[in-house]
């Protein structure tokens, strides 16, 4: 990394109580999460403060067990926090009931899972169409749109294939297509390059970063893969349930980063 880490999040102006910037996609303050009770309780998040800018790609990095997965689960509305504040594009997720939260996720969040989670019994296009079908679109129309987005990802004509017949990289692109087809405001990616070689990983991340370049969108990526750190606009370093430091990266840094 060529950029110097910023001070710990707790020392940033945002953490000191500054009003949220209008460009912020996600704002977390003193977010805590504990799993289990009593002596076996595990404090996964111990008061996380984090501002995720809109129109940018933010990476969460850190050692295993530092709370990255818990943090993206909370900011994607999959997991409830125990304490603290959380607003995603101005929406306090804690204020939503379970069914409204599901609907919010359906409309606003795209997921790219580490394991892809492509349903093997469905075709590639059907897998990609799921978010649209969940939003009430007809299967036929959703599959047509799925084929269109697959074409933009270089998978033209593969819509009727079985996912398991594709290579790992192709499956990852299918997962990306599924995450983007409904044009979510927030894209959450869990180790999106773990199954890809370096070149393909860079291409996939480049595509994902391009999708973040809009003021009403944001991309959050959990990764261990330092080969793609240079593509981030912001890198939040986590350790022991806290965001220890934040790197705000500039285009210059980007250009200096190793390819």
């Amino acid at each position: 990394m060529t950029s110097a880490p910023t001070p710990p999040a707790s020392a940033t102006p945002a953490a000191a109580g500054r009003a949220p910037s209008p460009e912020l996609a996600i704002r977390l303050r003193a977010v805590e999460k504990t799993f289990g009770k009593g002596e076996s309780a595990v404090r996964a998040l111990r008061g996380v403060d984090l501002d995720v800018p809109a129109g940018a790609l933010t990476m969460l990095v850190g050692p295993s067990g530092c709370g990255k997965t818990t943090l993206i689960s909370i900011l994607a509305g999959l997991l409830a926090r125990d304490a603290g504040e959380l607003a995603v594009f101005g929406q306090d997720l804690g204020a939503l009931r379970r069914d409204r939260l599901s609907a919010w996720r359906r409309d606003n969040v795209g997921f790219i899972f580490q394991q892809f989670n492509l349903v093997p019994q469905l075709t590639v296009a059907e897998n990609v169409s799921v978010p649209l079908v969940l939003k009430g679109e007809s299967v036929g129309a959703a599959v047509r749109k799925a084929n269109d987005i697959l074409a933009t990802l270089g998978l033209e004509g593969r819509g009727s294939s079985a996912p398991l017949k594709l290579s790992g990289g192709q499956q990852q692109r299918v997962a990306i297509a599924r995450a983007l087809i409904h044009e979510p405001r927030l894209l959450v990616c869990d180790e999106p390059t773990s199954a890809l070689d370096a070149e393909l990983g860079r291409r996939v991340m480049g595509f994902i970063r391009d999708r973040s370049r809009s003021p009403d969108r944001a991309v959050v990526v959990v990764t261990h893969d330092d080969r793609i750190f240079h593509l981030a606009d912001t890198i939040a370093h986590m350790d022991d349930g806290l965001v220890r430091s934040i790197e705000r990266r500039t285009p210059q840094h980007e250009s200096k980063s190793p390819a």
Partner: protein
């Protein structure tokens, strides 16, 4: 999403066919065993239904079922005839006797003796001959087309012919079905076949032989009481149920309408024998096999797909939608499995029709099988649904 749920079900070939097989086998076993049980039980009272034009059966009150011989006194007939409302009353003999065929083979037969004068309660379906022919000397009418034991004669003997003195007839030689003119011995008395009849299959083995009452008594072993029952026709306008009560009140005998007598007979076999328990065990086995195989398979199918359900949940599918998907998968598997099983049972039934196997699929049986399959599917899907409802969408990030 429901369309995708079906595709997920059909797409997992191994589990889908496993589930179908389990449900199909369960419904097959349930419906088949139930049909055989009903077929067997209906044979216990088939004779009662075959006796037409009779309003009331009068019999010994200690008699539990129609094949149980507890003969009445001869005076019973006149006593019944004396009851107000009785149009006519006829004696009936019914007993198991051994017939000796020309080749020396002995065969157990159901001998039915009907009223000499009126020939009431005669055979329902006559294949050849006439009931009136029973008035001829030594005349009997013999059942043909039975699935159990037909009366077979040596092929080398023409109808009416007996072996010449010293002629050896191989009991294992070629046979032919009984024909008019054939002669048999019943309790060392000659009986000549004058007609062929069809009768419903009964619980007791062997062909049914009809003759007149007086002749039946000559075939039967000597006994003080020989009348098996008195058959009664009620006067026009007389309620048979009331007449039954009156007969019982005035004679002390049991008097029941045919359906009630059938149910009494059925009740005996249901209550006093182990048959229902045996079939019940087989049916229960079918149910539990269904639960064990199909339930387990379906549960495993859901478990295998749990990560995808988790992904759907993360993507915004509500728990209600996911439950609907699981329920639909269970329903489709259930309907197909049931169809497979009932189809196999129907084929089995068609194949068994007219054979020795008692098989009677009442319209209720498919519904019972459907109910059982539904319970299996509900059990399997409820357990699966529990996993889906409890599924934490955040688990998809843990590789769940």
């Amino acid at each position: 999403m429901y369309r995708y749920a079906i595709k997920m079900l059909f797409g997992d070939n191994a589990k889908f066919y496993g589930i179908l097989l389990g449900l199909g086998f369960a419904s097959l076993l349930i419906a088949q065993q139930a049909s055989i049980f009903v077929g067997l039980m209906s044979r216990t009272f088939a004779f009662i239904g075959d006796v037409g034009h009779v309003d009331i059966w009068v019999f010994d009150p200690t008699q539990s079922y129609v094949d149980e011989p507890k003969p009445l006194r001869t005076t019973a007939l006149e006593r019944v005839r004396g009851v107000t409302g009785v149009a006519w009353a006829a004696p009936l003999y019914k007993g198991l006797l051994v017939a000796t065929l020309p080749d020396g083979k002995r065969q157990l037969c159901n001998v039915v003796g009907i009223d000499d004068d009126t020939l009431a309660a005669g055979p329902g379906r006559i294949v050849e001959g006439s009931v009136a022919d029973l008035r001829q000397p030594d005349a009997v009418m013999v059942q043909v087309g039975s699935s159990q034991q037909n009366m077979m004669f040596p092929a080398e003997l023409a109808p009416g012919a007996l072996p010449a003195p010293g002629q050896f007839i191989d009991p294992k030689g070629p046979k032919r079905p009984v024909q008019i003119g054939d002669i048999v011995e019943l309790n060392e008395r000659r009986a000549r076949v004058v007609g062929l009849v069809r009768c419903p299959e009964t619980f007791t083995p062997g062909p049914t032989i009809y003759t007149v009452y007086s002749r039946a008594l000559t075939y039967a072993p000597p006994a003080r009481r020989v009348m098996s029952a008195v058959l009664v026709k009620a006067n026009e306008g007389v309620d048979p149920a009331e007449l039954c009560e009156r007969i019982t009140e005035q004679t002390g005998y049991a008097a029941l309408q045919p359906w009630d007598y059938s149910m009494r007979t059925l009740g005996y076999w249901m209550g006093e024998t182990g048959i229902p328990i045996n079939f019940g065990i087989a049916i229960a086995l079918g149910f539990f096999v269904g639960v064990a195989i199909a339930g387990q398979m379906f549960y495993n199918f859901t478990l295998d797909n749990l990560r995808y359900f988790g992904a759907f949940k993360a993507m915004g599918a509500s728990s209600r939608m996911l439950l609907g998907m699981v329920a639909l998968q269970a329903l489709v598997a259930g309907v197909l499995g049931l169809g497979l099983g009932l189809g196999a049972v129907s084929a089995f039934g068609l194949n068994a029709a007219g054979g020795k196997l008692a098989f009677k699929m009442l319209w209720q049986i498919p519904f019972i099988a459907a109910g059982a399959v539904l319970v299996i599917c509900v059990l399997a899907s409820v357990i699966s649904m529990w996993k889906v409802v409890r599924l934490d969408p955040a688990d998809v990030f843990k590789g769940a």
